[in-house]
């Protein structure tokens, strides 16, 4: 058989990307986070966690998720910050800094962001995060219900 000497590069072209009629998301004007903002937050959160105000730290960590940021490093860094806060909470139900208290202090949007981070954590499980994340999921589900999980799946922008 003769060898195929012509270029086969055309087979790697993604025609769907070039389609004029393909749906493009509208660029939204939302408060996004860049590297400097994430770093700033990291410092503040460390202070809050050390001083014991864990719920404030949680609220700060969930603020302005970098959903439109194309820089993967920023996204990873932000996720690491959030994970630190989440694992810093204790599992017990009674103290004022429990996961339950944290979840009840959140607004609907913050709760949806929290669910997104929890599921992101499920996707990449590590030694010491699994148990905490499952407990967080239980607490968040008790408040957010099935709707919050549906919103994780149907959201166009991921954390």
């Amino acid at each position: 058989m003769s060898k195929n000497t012509r270029s086969a590069e055309f087979r790697k072209v993604d025609v769907d990307e070039l389609d004029d009629e393909q749906y493009q998301d509208d660029p939204e004007e939302i408060a996004d986070s860049d590297d400097s903002k994430v770093q700033q937050r990291e410092q503040e959160i460390k202070k809050l966690m050390q001083s014991g105000s864990k719920v404030e730290a949680l609220k700060l960590a969930l603020k302005d998720p970098p959903v439109q940021n194309k820089d993967n490093n920023v996204v990873e860094r932000n996720y690491a910050v959030v994970l630190d806060v989440l694992t810093g909470f204790s599992i017990g139900k009674k103290d004022k800094d429990s996961m339950q208290a944290g979840v009840e202090a959140l607004s609907t949007d913050e709760l949806d962001s929290l669910m997104k981070y929890i599921y992101r954590g499920f996707a990449r499980p590590t030694e010491n995060s699994c148990e905490k994340l499952l407990n967080w999921h239980e607490a968040a589900f008790a408040v957010g219900g099935l709707g919050s999980i549906i919103r994780v799946m149907s959201a166009r922008k991921s954390v």
């Binding site: 009629e21 749906y23 609907t108 949007d109 949806d112 408040v143 957010g144 219900g145 099935l146 709707g147 919050s148 549906i150 919103r151 149907s154 959201a155 166009r156 922008k157």
Partner: protein, 373 residues
Amino acid sequence: MPEVYEVVNGPITCHCWNKDRSKLAICPNNNEVHIYAKKSGKWEVEHILTEHGQRVTGMDWAAESDRLVTCAADRNAYVWIYTGSAWKPTLVILRINRAATVVKWSPKENKFAVGSGARCVSICYFEKENDWWVSKHIKKPIRSTVLSLDWHPNNYLLAVGSTDFKARVFSTYTKEIEEKPDSTCWGKKMPFGQCMAEFTTAGGGWVHCVSFSPSGNKLCWVSHDSSISVVDQSKEQDAVVVSVKHTYLPYLACQFLTESSIVAAGYDCYPVLWNHDDNNKLSFINKLDQSEKKAGGGSMSAMNKFKQLDTKATTTSTDTDLESTHQNSITQIVVYSVSQGSADVFSTIGVDGRVAIWACKSLEAAIAGLKFS
């Protein structure tokens, strides 16, 4: 309690009633349309219409003119007229290159709208000179499949919900068959195809259903991100969209019953009542399905317990039926009867093949504290 009829053994895609509710037309998830008539308390098949080549996705029965319009995934729509013994179809040239998804007659029944996967809505009217149905397209700015339609009572405005996460209101003023519309709170100038308003969903999800209130001043839409939203356009400049991201599974259908009561239903398999008051507050009222718990799960004889333990490794009941009337998702809500401008009975169909008819008065009596205001 709802009247329930187990009509088919599979999903019902769409349904509609004739004027006096003596006949029911459904699509049993294939390319046929079955027309049922009520004979001695049971629904029996009277006619089977087989003109469509692929699954019939939408249908609507015009009450006054007694015409049926059906649309299907074969990119066609037919208008059916009853000739006393059989249904005669007339093809409608839609000029779409994707499947049709939904069809609705306008309130005056002089035109109907067809939504499709071709990212447009076809407004069809009858042209007397050529004795055929003609369609005009509304394309801009719809960017994806149209999933739902609802007509405004003034016969000109049409609400469109689509998978590009937006709910819009368009003008369908067709100068060939009607007079210029009066201005409404949705706008003054209404040329054909003008997008009067565009709303987005709270979190970005397909808009499954849209519904105008009986006056046409309010619009409600439900979407796949488990949210329900309402806007009261009579406030004009101050009209603010109120959205609630609820904690239930997404709704697939919604319908305004009165100016402030909305019934919604979806993947949770039971209809629920929401209320939108004058302060622009949208709140969940109640679940409308309070079926009696099945008495079977009570006590089992000792022999049955061990038998169960042997075969199914459990001693509790293994009944897999849902407690709700519908055993699978509810896909459509249709107003069944109207009294004094508000709907007081509605019907639902679902993926379980059941048709349920819910009367608001009996729901109010059955559920303590429920009021359809």
